[in-house]
Each structure stands twice: as structure tokens, then as C-alpha cells.
């Protein structure tokens, strides 16, 4: 029964945050600020993880497909497909769920327990809308940019490791990453990323906004935000893959 209680409260909150903003110019400004806070500040971790994951993927694929019947370019092809279809949209979103989700939940949760949200409501401001909507919109704009960057850097990681270690000749790797490229794969990855961005920000915002108590509860909300965002990302990854690819 608690599941239905949370679902009902979550969708009620979504309806509230989608109400017409008090002043659109302030929301627009907040979206820019949040794109910086949630997106650009995650740039470093996304790049580091992507480049190493691309490199590791290339090495592992090379060692596991060491067969005379398999062409060498299959390593580049497999690396590209893994990065574009799964690693960049899903793994990067899971990493962002940890980084961005905990930040959102703890920020809004702290505002709740220090009466800052009450102060907004007293002023007649739609507090949920003002605090959560700019984050949702910002993440839905900036996360696809991060994911495209992750794809590029990941594939480049594979290229660098190919050149440095010789697990696969560079010319074969480059041929592989260009082999039978489908633009729909990128569209599929970006659709997933946008949905995941909505999940991360709205679920984390939900747990932050309904925090009750003090510092301990803020920590608990932060943990719940990460756990539930991650679970919903994995669940929707399956659903979207079934819908879009099958």
C-alpha cells in the first residue's frame, strides 16, 4: 500500500511542478544555473569514466574475440555498439544518479528542514515548481550533451588503447567504429538519456521535497534518492529497449 501512497504523491508533485511558473524569466535563469550545477560540474567524472571504460572495453573485446573467423574490425564495432547503446546512456545516467541525485535530494531536503521551503510557500511561490522544475528541464537538456560527449570520449579511449598497446591495429579499429553505423542508435541512446534525466531529477526532488525531520533524515532522503533513481533507470532501460529496439 505504501507503494501506491508514494506513487500518488509523486504524480501529484509532478502535476504541481508543471503548473505555470510565477515568473518565467526567473525559471529560465534557474535552468541555466542548474545546467551548470548538474551538468557542467559532472563533466570531469563523465570524461574520466568514459575514456577508461572505452579503453577497457576494447581490450576485453580483443581478448574475448581472438578467433581466426572473426575479423579484427569487429573489436571496434563491438566497442562502438556497447558504448553507444548501453554504456554511455545507461552507465553515465547511473553515475549521474549517484552524483546529481544525492545533491538534489540533500539540497532540497536541507531547505525543507531549515524552513526555507516554508518561506517560499509563505511568499505564495509554488515551491515544488521553483525548486524542481528547473532541475528537471536543465538535466533533460544537458544530460544528452554529456552522453554524446561520453560516446565520443569512450570511442577515443578505445582508439588510444589500440594505438598504445596494439591489441587491435588502429586502421581495423577505425574501420570497425565506422562499420554499419546507424543514426537510430544515437536517437535511441538520447531518448533513453532524456527519460533517465527526468527520472533522476524528479525522483531525487521528490525525496528531498518530502523530507521530514533533521540532518539524519536528509541523509536518508539522499540515499533513497540514489537507490530509487538507479532502480527506475534499470527498469526503464529494459522497458525502453524493448519498445525502441525490438
Amino acid at each position: 500500500m505504501k507503494l501506491f501512497y508514494h506513487l500518488g504523491r509523486y504524480f501529484t508533485m509532478i502535476a504541481v511542478i508543471l503548473k505555470k511558473p510565477e515568473k518565467a524569466s526567473i525559471y529560465r535563469r534557474q535552468i541555466i544555473v542548474e545546467m551548470d550545477n548538474l551538468g557542467l560540474e559532472s563533466l570531469g567524472i563523465v570524461v574520466i569514466i568514459s575514456v577508461f571504460m572505452g579503453a577497457v572495453l576494447t581490450i576485453q573485446t580483443a581478448f574475448n574475440t581472438d578467433h581466426p573467423l572473426l575479423p579484427m574490425y569487429a573489436i571496434g564495432f563491438a566497442t562502438r555498439q556497447a558504448i553507444i547503446l548501453e554504456f554511455s546512456p545507461t552507465m553515465v545516467s547511473l553515475i549521474l544518479a549517484g552524483k546529481v541525485g544525492s545533491r538534489i535530494a540533500s539540497e532540497i531536503g536541507t531547505m525543507r528542514v531549515t524552513e526555507q521551503i516554508d518561506a517560499l510557500e509563505i511568499m505564495g511561490i509554488n515551491a515544488a515548481g521553483y525548486l524542481i522544475l528547473p532541475k528537471v528541464v536543465a538535466a533533460m537538456i544537458i544530460n544528452p550533451v554529456l552522453v554524446v560527449l561520453s560516446m565520443f570520449v569512450g570511442i577515443m579511449g578505445g582508439y588510444v588503447v589500440s594505438a598504445a598497446t596494439g591489441v587491435v591495429p588502429v586502421s581495423h579499429y577505425v574501420y570497425g567504429i565506422l562499420f554499419e553505423f546507424s543514426q537510430f542508435d544515437i536517437v535511441y541512446a538520447l531518448i533513453k538519456t532524456v527519460v533517465f534525466a527526468f527520472i533522476i531529477t524528479s525522483v531525487s526532488g521528490y525525496f528531498g521535497f518530502f523530507t521530514r525531520g533533521g540532518a539524519l533524515e536528509v541523509g536518508q532522503s539522499s540515499t533513497k534518492a540514489v537507490v530509487f533513481s538507479s532502480i527506475y533507470i534499470i527498469l526503464f532501460n529494459l522497458i525502453l529497449t524493448q519498445i525502441l529496439l525490438v
Binding site: K23, I26, M111, T114, I122, M123, G124, I125
Partner: protein
């Protein structure tokens, strides 16, 4: 004037407010006093709409607040300022931005006009050279001043203060109390203050209401409270050795 009629609120099976009928007068500092857990914070939260009462009605002048929807309440809320116990300043904004916030949201002022108004309010609460500091960089007393400046920035008709001098030293507490009273008279606001500090009562209490176990037990002026024979009020007023000594 703000008026509550037969206000009732329970949490589960525990009644916290029991048929409270009370009015708060314009241009006066109206104090709600009572022990911790007596229901005074719940009463204030019901008055400002942060909690919905189970029964009863709330009037802002002749407007029935308790029957209003979100949009109608928003109009009243823009006429309302509130000073929270901890200040409730927005951590990510500077002192100046905090004071400008309600102006940014609800007025069409130019940036210069907003800055000018924010500086006027900050000067009114005797806070200078702190405009660009963040809440984490200022003292408790300064936070209260900024919160007062933010509360009056939009020229409110009603001012609510929840424990305005909690956590402050007695001298700063009196400064804050007097500031609230001066602002109340200056802007002819209806001010409601929630406190259990007898110094505040004696300093600024134009009208004092004593809440006991969720009921309005006694009301009068700050002079009458010292003379009353009501046992519960006396137990509260003369709870400290200092007050008992003064009485003797």
C-alpha cells in the same frame, strides 16, 4: 486584522488546537505565548496556511482565508511577511539577493529599483556592509535582521514572527523585539509573534494571548498579565527565579 474562529486541529487522535477563537489587531504587536507543545506553532502555521485546520475559519480583514484555493491564497500571501525561527534565509543567495527575492518574484521593478528597495530595508534593520555576504557568513542576530528585511521588502500588511529571538543573547533579542515593534507601528501592520520569552512579552506585547493545552486560556495586555490570578498563566509567567524575585 486577522481573526480565527473555532479553529481546531488534530494530529491523528491527538487534538492540538481546540476551538480557538482569537483576533489580532492592526498596528499592534500581538503575542501568542505558551509552553512548548501547547499548540502555538500549530496555530501560527494554520493562520498562514502551512497547515490546514480540521475545523474553523480564518479571516484576513474580511477575506475568508480558510475557504480560498491556491490562487486566491497567493494574493494574500503576497501581503504577508514571515520571520522564521532560524531565519530561513536561502543559503545560495547573498544577503542582498535574499531581500530582493520577493521583489524579483512578484514585482516588475527594474534591477536598480529592487537594489534600492533592498538597501532601504537593510538600512531599516540597521544592517550595513553585509549585502554581499552569504547567510553562512553572518551571525544569528544578523540573520534575523536579514529575515526581517526580507519579510518587509514587499510592504506586507501582515507580519508573522515565529520565536523571533530564540538563540539570541538578551541584548540582541531586545534589539530584534524593538525592531519588530517599530516596523509594526511604522507600516501599520498586523503583527503576530509566537514566543515563550517573557522579556519579549514585557517589552513589546501590545496584546498577549496565552495558549494552554491547545486552548485559548487567557488574553490581555502585557500589564494585565502580571496582575492576573489565573494559575496556569502565573505558573508560566513566574516560572523563572528572576520573575519570582521581581514579583516580590
Amino acid at each position: 486584522m486577522i481573526k480565527a474562529v473555532d479553529l481546531g486541529k488534530s494530529f491523528g487522535n491527538v487534538p492540538v488546537l481546540k476551538d480557538v477563537t482569537i483576533s489580532f489587531e492592526k498596528g499592534k504587536t500581538n503575542l501568542i505565548i505558551g509552553q512548548s507543545g501547547s499548540g502555538k506553532t500549530v496555530l501560527m502555521k494554520c493562520l498562514v496556511g502551512l497547515l490546514e485546520p480540521d475545523k474553523g475559519q480564518i479571516f484576513y480583514d474580511d477575506r475568508v482565508f480558510s475557504r480560498m484555493g491556491f490562487r486566491e491564497r497567493r494574493v494574500i500571501r503576497q501581503e504577508l511577511g514571515m520571520l522564521f525561527q532560524g531565519g530561513a534565509l536561502f543559503d545560495s543567495l547573498t544577503v542582498e539577493e535574499n531581500v530582493m527575492f520577493p521583489l524579483e518574484m512578484f514585482t516588475q521593478m527594474t534591477k536598480e529599483e529592487k537594489l534600492d528597495r533592498a538597501n532601504t530595508c537593510l538600512q531599516r534593520v540597521n544592517l550595513v556592509n553585509a549585502n554581499h555576504l552569504y547567510p553562512a557568513e553572518i551571525s544569528g542576530g544578523m540573520k534575523k535582521r536579514v529575515a526581517i528585511a526580507r519579510a518587509i521588502a514587499n510592504n506586507p500588511r501582515y507580519l508573522f514572527c515565529d520565536e523571533p529571538n530564540s538563540g539570541l543573547d538578551p541584548r540582541t533579542a531586545i534589539v530584534i523585539d524593538n525592531l519588530i515593534r517599530e516596523i509594526t507601528k511604522e507600516f501599520n501592520m498586523t503583527t503576530v509573534i509566537n514566543t515563550h520569552d517573557m522579556n519579549s512579552v514585557m517589552e513589546i506585547g501590545d496584546k498577549v494571548a496565552f495558549i494552554y493545552h491547545g486552548e485559548l486560556w487567557w488574553q490581555g495586555t502585557r500589564h494585565e498579565i502580571l496582575e492576573t490570578e489565573n494559575k496556569e498563566v502565573n505558573d508560566f509567567v513566574y516560572a523563572t527565579e528572576l520573575m519570582r524575585t521581581l514579583k516580590k
